[in-house]
Subunit: 239 residues, 6 copies
């Protein structure tokens, strides 16, 4: 039995709200239950120095958590003077994942910065971030096409991400904080529309996991990602 | 004529939403038109070192802006490795103002940290922050009384804040970004329920201002603050 | 009765010593009683990136306090690795004020950096800094004219600054440390020769202040600034 | 055909040299071909603040690369003023992995810091680090038992780590730099003596990978880890 | 012929002004010609952690240069966020030298921080700093005796410092900036009243120097230090 | 009697191993007894901004110590966020010394960065670094000539460095840690093949030293440096 009463293969209620703020080229509030992340995509009309002259664009991500997004207040990274290891690890993951969704050569001399800021945290902030940021990214790409900044759609495929884990000995989908902090194993999976894997990061928290558990978790992830992709597509059909 | 079509003494539409996030002891989304700030109050059961043993509590504030809260994306302060001068100036102002609303000796050995994070910026983020943070602070004080952490209500008075300025030669209330970036003078005023001044910060942006303009601006501020105090009181009457 | 025995509208003894050090284009030691600040103006023959090509110059200020300028030694900001919020707040105020004294378009592709370093502190370091820095700035502008770097005098008006406050219930001019640390209200005022306001920053330290007190303080400030402007003009008449 | 001429399931020549430096409680030079990492384990007779009074010990890791360990010189992180995201990500991985090898409750009020410093890099520095650090950790635990700092052996199991990937469409074991920089997929696997997984981090560099490729890679990893565990055991049998 | 017209063994005009600022326990303005350094000694009634319980005190030094102490403005170290290598090297030298002048065991549980801040630079700032700081230190020790903080005088001996060098092939004493920036060799010497060496730091700037030149420089240093010690003693005889 | 049993004028066993790592243009492991430093020389095909257009090259050095190179683990400077004063002092010394060995005008628009990383410390790390780095530098210069990057050999002279000191009242050569931490005086000397001095840095640790002791130490240093120069030349004769 899960603390939330959900079935083992059941996502939390997921909401994807586009145009959440007015300035960004893409702005999405994504909610996985009580986890709420604001994902914005910001267009910049140049590229990092090491890409100048190559005709290739770039996508990068930054991640942050409001100090009181969590049960206990965390010190503000800006006042502490540096981003923590967890933050850097997560924003590297988000950036790598989103770059895999896009043909960077079609971006031209343009960069897109994805900001994922956690308004409220209840487990799964990195998977919610990737799922929401993908939608913000698509809005930004559409903006670029509408404004003739690029001619073709650089999107190769939608991607989505979900966590899976072993909780009380059972594989479960989309862990909330109550499960996450007690899980034996925690795994974040990023997948494409065609079922390919972009990222798998599995960690044994309390006990090593075996191949059978691994396979069960990946099967759950596949189901969860498919549900999320449906929600992304539905959100993107709105004007 | 103001860009927004408002009368000279007219506030933008102001909304105060309490309990906006679930973890903080006080959590308020305050909106001054398109300016949206999330204000949380976090209780900590101890005091800074220099207050230990005095029986007096403390209130401090931190301010941040999401990178794409503005028309152009700003570099994330956490990745830049330090808070800018504007940020520090604003959070010092917020902290001083809120401490003036409370009898710190009634707080006991407790600290409250106010976080004001700007989700979307359209001028007046510091005055919206102070106005919203006051409500979050009251919710935190009520939480402390409900949980017997303190016996008496330490609130001395509500405070609220609004900007005034000289725009196209005329004194106006509650400048939005279109006005703020072209005003001759910009003044932020923090006032109490009894009409006392807590803070006045006036800056001549384009031309010096005279005593007459000053008086006109302060009169507008008084009206605006009274309206804001009404909205705070109404919000606090809700459960 | 003031601790120093001064009348309510009486400045401390103010001295302005030009050419205090030999390298800077303008170098002034300003003394407001025991408060001593070395203000230098340094010319640089280029402008910040965002002004390149506009033909407009720039003025910026930095503020520092020697570690033992005060009764208790403060940690050196250079060894602490960052400037504190108070320092940043003050240097932003000095920079804004001095830019209001000058027509930046007449400066050409040149920048002037004002350094205000407090040798000894006894209250009012920011107002002394602005008052002394104005004289150092004029010396730098004269240097630029003498050396044909600019053709016209970019000075629009002299500015000066003084603090006022409510001490023991009475409005007083030019607070020293003994008053400043016990004042009910502290206000810093920057004014022009023509009586216009450049900056007003008033803070209720112990109790809110009302409009009447505000007016009384501004009247004192006007008198004090006029006296300071006289002293600046006298100093600038020397060779 | 692999650039090195190795078979798909063939490790590079691996050497584990214990007692490589004289001061540390455990000091191992580990070589995976041309990748050379010095792993030291340093005992400290106390624990982080959040563990005080729990009777539980702690293991943490730090990772660094000498500036010219690589083909192009990298800026020294100490002079740049911060550790990069890649460094933080790797040292968090090493720390988590090693903590999974030990019963921290048996460590008492003691901490062990693992330093993994890359002398020469040719791909696979993080997997070599984990494999070598495990041996340094065992030497440190033996030192603690010999000196009666702990009574029982806290080692639960040896762990080892190896990279696998898809190179030119084929799953290969233990990628060197030539392969790593051109692989379609790169996966780092940490496993126990009993065949359990501690960490799996797989990244699609050029193209998504499917379940079949995943299974093939994990099978290669299992073989590689078994070989590495043999080498660890042999090294630890020496005096 | 030296640029200043001085004889090879002639110091610049040296002035030592005690009680230069009012807050510090020792405060000395030292002038070596146009080089002017404010040296303050600040007493703190405790010791660094690693000396707690030993009954031994500590002396440490910090060095800074005002941004426009030099011909070209230098970036403020506080705003750059760190002290440069030259600054750290100099303050380590000052600290070591002053500790050699005092019997730290006689200091009790007290620390003295020496701040040497260069108001105007014209070569020899580190030797002027040591010479002036010694006098400020003595004033601080006298303050401690007067206030019964210590019973005995911890001063073992006065120390003083001067630079010597090879300029145009000739050994010269007390180099000013014009010489220093063109010298073949630059050497800073710290000596005691009894003629012992505390520090010798010689650097070949343009050409290696030989033993004969070394001996000639040390002979000049001995003469210069003796003159400086006389000036220190005369200054300390004043009330 | 020295702790190591060496004669007063006897070096520790010194080994110079070239081509120690494979990527750098020069890579030398230097051992002075148990002190082991890896010195690499990295060529970069450009110069610092202030040398652009002058046709002159540059040599700079960085120094680091692995955290557990010493008996007690030191905090990693990269994680502490800055290099300490000792580190900066040493790398400035190494850089100055090596620049004195080379005619920078012959280097063309090229820079060489010397990294000295201490693998194991037992006293004398800075003198071992300079001695080893000189050999790495020569290998880098040879590489540049072989690859026609420069036409002539810019090496003016070999340099080497050794420490001398007063231990138990007697002058001794090449202090190891046991001596260094108890020496009355510690002096580091850098000399050329022709017997000229490049750097002398002598510090009285426990008692001032006199001219006679100074002369005796310099005589020992001359002998030690000659032995080191022989070892450098022998190492450089190998292919």
């Amino acid at each position: 039995m899960r603390p939330s009463g959900r079935a083992a293969d059941e996502l939390r209620e997921v909401k994807i709200t586009r145009h959440y703020t007015k300035h960004a080229e893409g702005s999405v509030l994504v909610e996985f239950g009580d986890t709420k992340v604001l994902c914005t995509a910001s267009l910049e009309r140049n590229v990092p120095r090491w890409l100048k002259g190559t005709g290739q664009g770039w996508i990068t991500a930054e991640y942050g958590m409001l100090p009181r997004a969590t049960g206990e207040r965390n010190q503000r990274e800006a006042s502490r003077g540096k981003q923590g290891g967890r933050t850097l690890e997560i924003q590297r993951l988000i950036g790598r994942s989103l770059r895999a969704a896009v043909d960077l050569k079609q971006l031209g001399d343009n960069s897109i910065t994805i900001d994922c800021d956690v308004i409220q945290a209840d487990g799964g902030t990195r998977t919610a971030s990737i799922t929401g940021a993908t939608v913000a990214l698509v809005d930004c790409l559409r903006h670029m096409q509408r404004n003739k900044i690029i001619r073709n759609d650089p999107l190769v495929q939608l991607i989505a991400s979900v966590s899976v884990g072993i909780y009380n000995g059972n594989p479960v989908l989309d862990l909330d904080y109550a499960e996450d902090s007690n899980a034996e194993t925690d795994m974040n999976v990023v997948m494409t529309e065609k079922g390919g894997f972009i990222e798998i990061q599995g960690t044994a928290e309390a006990a090593p996991f075996d191949k059978e558990e691994m396979d069960a978790m990946l099967e759950l992830a596949r189901k969860g990602v498919n549900d999320l992709l449906d929600l992304q597509r539905k959100a993107l059909e709105q004007p």
